[in-house]
Symmetry: C2
């Protein structure tokens, strides 16, 4: 398991000696209070909230929190911290899952949540430029009457777009629209030396030099601090249809998805819930779905195209053992269904009150999904865990919500070993440790196994762009002595 | 203009001193001849062919050519060249346009065209793994009976997939399927120290660390040598319909495209040809199209969806001044039409026999396309140039084929100034100097204006990953004293 090793490393010699001295920290905070009066917080509650983590990575709060309101302020803060060797941890909404916001080397949480301006919507170009602190929800509201929408939907409505880019977020609509990797056109960012860059022009494509946009997307604040984003927008589809489709067996559900994708049906969301998840969702969201492996589907297109696609999908699904279809054409029904799916994280927690929910997100080639899930379900059964499964099955990505009693150290150890096996299984099938949550501190121990010799290339890039290691240290890259690469 | 400055720089002090010594080159060639007998060529003709360039960047041939047949051989060759400080220039099919293959510092052309194995087709995952020397055409043939296809189509059938990834190629289908940026899932590459890496797993998405795949895509062999690629495939659409649609005016054609994209119609190709291009294509391909601004269109989808989309597109186009529609539903008619479009480069050259064709590829936000084209056409008229236009209008990307008498130095100078103005105009509109051809040597002088402070970040990455500068030196990054950044 990742967590214990990292915590140890954070307390060990190699890392501790890179911590800022109290003098350096004091100088920085004095300067900040003078230049940005009222924007520096050092209270325990604010600090703990900024080290927030939704998994069992322990909360390691920063020494202080500073609220930036413009790119230029971010650049000033970075230059100041660089001068004194004080770590900076960019903060959006605190919805990340792998301890990305922790301060294992101390330092300052740079809160960008006040950078909430929507700078420009170009309806003819289908793009929008926003500050990093704009939330998905705020953008959705802003676009409501334009006929346009931004598709990436990781579930948390309050997630900031800056944070979503930094963690390469994806979610339920990725199967059709792609993740943040495909939907960020350009970034404005502050690099470790305080330099402000724009990674690309607003043109849809370019062959001019290295792809700095995609280098920063998913870099979790370790290479630069994203302050503005230009994002792709899409015209709202003419028609949207949602459906729930329970299957006799998991295999059938997976096979139906594979065929739907092969045929290029316009499936915009295609989510798998296992019987245990269905039970939890029924209880939490007051639904009465059958407790079977179930696909939640959403189709986007014109009305005629949807009618055709649904007919095709229905044939495929019936041949694969679908038990029934329940279509939800009305917006209210559809919203209720997808709200239930997005509330699954909270619903599943109720299956074992008092337990801690550890959410995993391995992703495998879709042809291996049924195998990976079946082997994992067998492992869960043999361990006697409660671990419902919900998955972005069109991408080969699934979440287990492993409910663990964190006070029971033997159970914790068994859980850690189980999670290691899960990642090992995914890697052996050509998959990845994380489809969408990112590495942070929580999955740092898997980086060497996943990337092998490529890890050294990542280290070289980090060293080149942040030689003093002030940008979100202790994330993504394991300590050099922790493994190969 | 880029070319003269670069040629000068290549002869200047700062760069010359990084040239390999004759002794170093001799040692490398001796070793190569011993380890890879029969695979080293130093004849003038082979060398010149490997410095091939389709624009007016002068041919600067390498000192030798070596043919590699496996990733492991590439790694051996890289290690050898690294030890002796000898430049290496990866070579695929020689179809690049901006002098990417030139050897301004001498060194060895590493020819990958014999690495032609198609390693694995995964029809359930819709992906394929190939060696870098596999051509688009060979992949197309291989997939013919599978119901799958690879969409990226830059025109040149003999282009290698490795070269297409290295230059971030796109083309006529990018509006629907994306460019190499979106369609490369993973790469195997040899880095400057001979290390062999794999940039990603075969899973459709991942949030595990830095996006090395997209860092290498478009890096033109300056950061690593791509030896294998895993690419996305797509199911062949049920139905394909092509059409030719002339407009009364350019504005109308651009507006129709913008609306089609806003509505999310499944336009798979949407190409603009100006009246002069139509005249040339008619003559070259024995067609009888009206000499008007014309859209060549292709729709992919199910039959019912296409009928619906075509009706919608027709309404839009008529409102924007379309003169007529000519549908080509039969595969032969469709092939003939698109062959004519893809032969346009050769057709256009015939407009001024004996002239040299300089092909540009600026790309702007689509809302600015009509402005950019109109201003450029006015500039062409006032200069009296012959410069037909063909464009990937759905991406805001257009090619001018500027026909220049290279023996007329005054005309050459006027052409160079015109090309500078064209790039300046695109940049001022939020565009890029190159939508798809890349930087190579030909556009290197525009890098500072396009990227500003971000250019230094690119330099830092190059320095970190290839400190001795042996990988395709003199490409992408201008000499440090040549401008800002």
């Amino acid at each position: 398991m990742a967590q214990p090793e990292v915590s140890t490393a954070a307390e060990g010699d190699a890392v501790t000696r890179r911590k800022a001295t109290p003098q350096a920290l004091g100088s920085v905070l004095d300067s900040l209070r003078q230049h940005l009066p009222g924007r520096v917080e050092t209270g325990e509650a604010v600090r703990r909230q900024h080290g927030h983590t939704l998994t069992w990575v322990p909360n390691i709060p920063p020494d202080a929190v500073v609220f930036a309101e413009s790119t230029e302020e971010v650049a000033e803060i970075v230059r100041l911290c660089a001068r004194h060797g004080v770590p900076l941890i960019p903060y959006g909404a605190g919805t990340s899952l792998e301890g990305h916001l922790n301060a294992p080397l101390g330092g300052i949480s740079l809160d960008l949540s006040r950078m909430t301006r929507i700078l420009e919507v170009n309806d003819r170009d289908l793009d929008v430029t926003v500050e990093a602190g704009v939330t998905r929800e705020a953008l959705e509201s802003h676009l409501r009457d334009t006929g346009l929408f931004f598709p990436v939907d990781p579930g948390a409505r309050e997630a900031t777009l800056g944070g979503m880019a930094a963690t390469r977020a994806s979610g339920t609509t990725t199967v059709k629209y792609g993740s943040m990797r495909e939907n960020v056109l350009s970034l404005r960012a502050v690099m470790a030396d305080g330099r402000i860059i724009r990674t690309a022009r607003r043109a849809r494509k370019s062959a001019a030099g290295y792809d700095l946009t995609r280098l920063l997307v998913g870099s979790e604040g370790t290479l630069g601090i994203i302050t503005e984003l230009t994002l792709r927008l899409y015209g709202r589809p003419d028609a949207i249809l949602a459906a729930v489709c329970p299957f006799a067996a998991l295999d059938g559900a997976c096979n139906a998805v594979i065929q739907a994708i092969q045929l290029g049906l316009g499936v915009a969301r295609i989510e798998l819930l296992d019987p245990l998840s269905i039970r939890a969702v029924n209880a939490y969201s007051k639904l009465a779905l059958e407790e079977a492996p179930t696909l939640f589907l959403e189709f986007h297109g014109t009305k005629a195209a949807l009618d055709e696609q649904i007919t095709v999908f229905r044939e495929i699904a019936e041949a694969e053992g679908a038990l029934r279809f329940d279509w939800a054409a009305k917006p209210e029904e559809r919203s209720r269904l997808w709200r239930a799916r997005h509330d699954a994280f909270w619903a599943l927690g109720h299956l074992r009150p008092g337990a801690e929910a550890v959410v995993t997100d391995v992703c495998v080639p879709i042809s291996r999904l049924a195998d990976c899930v079946a082997e994992t379900e067998a492992d869960i059964a043999s361990e006697g865990f409660i671990a419902p499964l919900v998955g972005h099955v069109g991408d080969g990505n699934f979440h287990l919500v492993l409910l663990v009693d964190r006070k029971d150290s033997a159970e914790r150890a068994r859980a850690a070993a189980f999670l290691d096996r899960l990642v090992g299984r995914a890697l052996a099938m050509g998959g990845t440790a994380t489809g969408e949550h990112g590495i942070g501190m929580g999955k740092i121990a898997h980086m060497a196994a996943e990337h092998g010799p490529a890890l050294a290339v990542m280290r070289a890039i980090k060293q080149a762009l942040d030689p003093a290691g002030i940008l979100n240290p202790g994330k993504i890259l394991p300590p050099e002595d922790a493994g190969t690469g």
